[in-house]
C-alpha cells in the first residue's frame, strides 16, 4: 500500500503542476499580464515544467519518501517482498530504543543511543568551534580588508579544498598519530615525554570536521556581515562602545541570519558526515552515520538503515528548528 503511494506520487505532482499552469492561464485570460505559457513559449514552458518536476520528484521527494516507507517494513529477502510477511512495522524504531529484546526483561539500546547523543554533542561543539574560528575571518574579510587582501585570503581559504576530503583526513591522521609529526616535534622539543594520543582524544575529529566545513561557515557569515554599513560600527564606537560590545550589539544582531545559516549547515553536515569520523574518530567514539553505513553495507539491512537515517534527519531538523526559534530567526531569513 505505502509502496504504491510512493509510485503514485509522480502522478500527483504532475497533476499539481498542470493545475498550476491551468490556473495561471485562467487568471491571465482577461488581464494584461500574460500567462506562463504565453510568456515563455510552448517549448520553454514544457521544458521548465518537466525540468522542475523532475528535480522536485527525483532529487528531492522520491528518495526520501522511498526510504521513509522502507523503514516501516521488515527487512526481507527479495522473494518475500510484497508477500504475506511484508507488513507495516515499527520494529526498526523499536530496535533503536530497546535493542535486542529478550522475553524476560526490558533492555535499552545504550550503544546506539550513546552514539546518537555523542554525534549530536560533538557536532554542536564543532559548530561552536567553527563559528569562533570563522567569525573573525569573516569580519576581517567583510569590513576590514582591502579588496586585494580579500582576494588573497579567499584564495588561501578555497585552495585547500581542492584536496579531497579523505586525503585531508589521512593527512591529519599522519600529523596527529602517536608516532606522527606533532608528537615527534613535542618530544624533541621536550614539551612532552610520552606521545600523546590525539586521535583517541578526538582532537583529530574536531580538527577534521571543523576544517572540512570552514568555508560552509565563512561564506554565510561573510555574506551577513558584508552588507553592514561601516558607519554603524563607527557610530557605536563613537558612542563609547568597546570593541566586544560593537560585535555583540551591532554586528552579530545584523549578521544573525548569516550566522544561523552557517551554523545550521555546519551542524547538519557534521552530524551527517562519514569520512572524518571514520578516519579521525577515537576508538570510543561511534558516529551515528557509521551505524547507518553498517546497516546498509555490512548487514544489508536497508530497512533498519533507513529508519536510523530518518531518526538522525528528524532529530537534526527538530534541533535546528528549536535553535532558530530560540534565536528568533525565521526560516526565510537564513536564505538571504
Amino acid at each position: 500500500m505505502s509502496r504504491q503511494f510512493v509510485f503514485l506520487l509522480p502522478v500527483i505532482v504532475i497533476a499539481a503542476y498542470w493545475g498550476m499552469a491551468r490556473y495561471d492561464a485562467w487568471r491571465g485570460r482577461d488581464s494584461a499580464s500574460r500567462s506562463f505559457v504565453q510568456r515563455n513559449g510552448l517549448v520553454l514552458s514544457t521544458f521548465l515544467v518537466v525540468a522542475v518536476g523532475f528535480w522536485t520528484l527525483f532529487m528531492v521527494a522520491l528518495p526520501y519518501l522511498y526510504m521513509m516507507q522502507e523503514s516501516f517494513h521488515p527487512s526481507l529477502w527479495p522473494k518475500d517482498r510484497g508477500g504475506p510477511l511484508d507488513v507495516l512495522t515499527l520494529e526498526h524504531y523499536e530496535f533503536f530504543v530497546y535493542g535486542m529484546q529478550s522475553d524476560t526483561q526490558v533492555t535499552y539500546n545504550f550503544t546506539h543511543g550513546k552514539a546518537f547523543v555523542v554525534t549530536i554533542l560533538i557536532s554542536l561543539a564543532v559548530t561552536g568551534i567553527n563559528f569562533a574560528l570563522c567569525y573573525p575571518i569573516a569580519f576581517y574579510l567583510a569590513q576590514v580588508a582591502t579588496l586585494q587582501k580579500v582576494r588573497l585570503l579567499m584564495l588561501a581559504l578555497i585552495l585547500p579544498y581542492w584536496v579531497n576530503e579523505i586525503l585531508r583526513a589521512f593527512a591529519l591522521r599522519i600529523l596527529l598519530a602517536s608516532e606522527g609529526i606533532l608528537n615527534k616535534v613535542l618530544q624533541y622539543s621536550g614539551l612532552s615525554d610520552a606521545p600523546i594520543d590525539f586521535l583517541a582524544a578526538n582532537v583529530g575529529l574536531y580538527m577534521g570536521l571543523s576544517y572540512a566545513y570552514l568555508l560552509i561557515m565563512v561564506f554565510p557569515l561573510y555574506n551577513g556581515i558584508e552588507s553592514l554599513d561601516k558607519n554603524q560600527i563607527e557610530a557605536a564606537r563613537d558612542l563609547g562602545a568597546p570593541w566586544w560590545r560593537i560585535h555583540k550589539d551591532v554586528v552579530i544582531p545584523f549578521a544573525k541570519p548569516g550566522i544561523a545559516s552557517g551554523c545550521t549547515m555546519v551542524f547538519m553536515l557534521s552530524a551527517g558526515s562519514l569520512a572524518a569520523p571514520q578516519f579521525l574518530g577515537g576508538p570510543n567514539t561511534l558516529w551515528f552515520t557509521s551505524i547507518v553505513y553498517d546497516f546498509f553495507f555490512q548487514s544489508f539491512n536497508w530497512a533498519r538503515g533507513s529508519a536510523y537515517a530518518l531518526i538522525l534527519l528528524l532529530a537534526c531538523i527538530v534541533f535546528v528548528m528549536i535553535v532558530l526559534r530560540a534565536f528568533k530567526v525565521s526560516l526565510g531569513e537564513i536564505t538571504r
Binding site: Q232, A235, A236, D238, L239, G240, A241, P242
Partner: protein, 360 residues
C-alpha cells in the same frame, strides 16, 4: 559642559595625497562652527580627525586643552552625527538614543529618564518604542541628534546630516539644529558644502579648498569681505572680472578688464601691475549707466525667474555677467536681446589677488 577645540598645524596625509594641510584654528566652547567647502576639500577628514577616527600625520588636536593623541573615538568627549545618520536599524528609537548610556553601564531607570528627557527635547515623546524604520526623514534626523546628545558630549560633530532631506525640511531643520544648540549650549562643529546652511546656522565659518583653510570668519565677513578669489566665488554668487591693476590709491584699485577699467575696494593692498580679479555680487549690480569705471555694456541673454528674485544673464565682451533683481525691480528688466548698461557702486566692488575660482 562645552569645550573648545583647537587644531594646531594639523596635516592629514593618505600615502601621497595631502587631505588637510597645516590646519590651525581654535573653536570656542559653545560655538556653532562650520567647515564649508566643495566635496573633496578635506572637511570630512578634519571632522574624522577631531572625532578620533583618523590620526593627524602631523600637528595636534586639543579638546578642552587636552591633547587627543592616542585617545580613541570611544573615549573622546565628542559625538559624531553621520551623513547617513547610521541609526541602528534593529533597535527601537529609545534603544538607539540610550545606546551610549547602555555601554557606559548606566542603570536602566536612569537611562529611561534620560531617554524620555531627550525624546521630549526632540519632540518625539511617545515614539520611543517604534523601530527607526517607522520614522520619517526629519524624525530620524532628530533621533540621531538625541542619540549623540545622550552621552553628554562636550563637542557635537555633524557631517552634512541634512543633505538627504528635501528643501523645506532642510530649512526647518536648520532652525531646529540652531535652537537645539542654543538649548544644550555645547560646541557644534558642522560640515557642509551648502553655503546657505553654513551662513544661516554658524557663528563662524571656515571656508576650505584643496585641504587648506582659506578664510575663517562669521557669515557676514566671509560673504562681504572674502579674502581670496576662491572664497569670493564659492560663498554665494559672484561676478568675476579678471585683469590687471592699472591704478591703486587709498580709496581702492582700478582693474583693466575685458570690459574696460573697473573700480573696487582694495583691502589686500594690490599694486599697479598685479594680476587681480574684480568681484561684484549679482545683487549689487543694477541696470542703467553709473559712474566712471563702474559701468559695463552688455546684452541680455536670458532671464531666470525664481520667485523672490530674478536672475538676468547678460553677455558682454565675451564674458557672462549675472544680475539679480529683487521683486520690486522686476519691472526694470529689459527684454531678451536688448543692449543694456549695468553699473555698481565702486565701494561694493572688491579687488582680490588672482587665484583659483570655485568650479561652477
Amino acid at each position: 559642559m562645552s569645550a573648545d577645540v583647537e587644531l594646531d598645524h594639523v596635516t592629514v596625509r593618505f600615502s601621497q595625497f595631502v587631505a588637510v594641510r597645516e590646519a590651525t584654528l581654535r573653536i570656542a566652547g559653545g560655538e556653532f562652527f562650520s567647515f564649508l567647502g566643495p566635496s573633496g576639500c578635506g572637511k570630512t577628514t578634519i571632522l574624522r580627525t577631531i572625532s578620533g577616527f583618523l590620526d593627524p600625520s602631523a600637528g595636534a588636536v586639543r579638546i578642552a586643552g587636552q591633547d587627543m593623541a592616542g585617545i580613541g573615538p570611544n573615549r573622546r568627549p565628542t559625538a559624531l552625527i553621520f551623513q547617513n545618520l547610521a541609526l541602528f536599524p534593529l533597535m527601537t528609537v529609545a534603544d538607539n538614543i540610550g545606546y551610549g548610556l547602555r555601554v557606559r553601564n548606566v542603570t536602566k531607570a536612569e537611562r529611561r529618564r534620560k531617554v524620555d528627557e531627550l525624546l521630549n527635547l526632540i519632540a518625539l515623546s511617545g515614539h520611543g518604542d517604534k523601530l527607526v524604520s517607522a520614522l520619517s526623514g526629519g524624525q530620524k534626523q532628530r533621533v540621531a541628534i538625541a542619540r549623540a546628545l545622550a552621552v553628554e558630549p562636550k563637542v557635537l560633530l555633524l557631517d552634512e546630516p541634512l543633505s538627504a532631506l528635501d528643501l523645506k525640511l532642510r530649512q526647518h531643520m536648520r532652525n531646529e539644529l540652531r535652537a537645539i544648540q542654543r538649548r544644550v549650549g555645547i560646541t557644534f562643529i558642522y560640515i557642509t558644502h551648502d553655503q546657505g546652511e553654513a551662513l544661516t546656522m554658524s557663528d563662524r565659518i571656515a571656508v576650505m579648498n584643496g585641504g587648506v583653510i582659506e578664510q575663517i570668519g562669521d557669515g557676514k565677513t566671509v560673504y562681504d569681505e572674502p579674502e581670496t578669489a576662491f572664497v569670493a566665488s564659492f560663498v554665494g554668487e559672484n561676478n568675476a572680472f579678471p585683469g590687471r591693476v592699472c591704478a591703486a590709491d587709498s580709496t581702492g584699485a582700478v582693474v583693466e578688464t575685458s570690459f574696460g577699467r573697473l573700480r573696487g575696494r582694495n583691502p589686500k593692498g594690490l599694486k599697479t601691475g598685479d594680476a587681480a580679479i574684480l568681484f561684484v555680487r549679482p545683487e549689487l549690480l543694477r541696470f542703467g549707466k553709473g559712474g566712471p569705471e563702474a559701468s559695463i555694456a552688455t546684452t541680455v541673454l536670458t532671464v531666470a525667474f525664481e520667485g523672490n528674485a530674478s536672475h538676468v544673464f547678460l553677455k558682454g565682451s565675451g564674458k557672462d555677467v549675472t544680475v539679480t533683481v529683487g521683486r520690486h525691480d522686476r519691472a526694470v528688466i529689459p527684454g531678451q536681446g536688448a543692449g543694456v548698461d549695468i553699473s555698481y557702486d565702486p565701494a561694493s566692488g572688491l579687488v582680490l589677488p588672482e587665484g583659483r575660482l570655485a568650479r561652477e
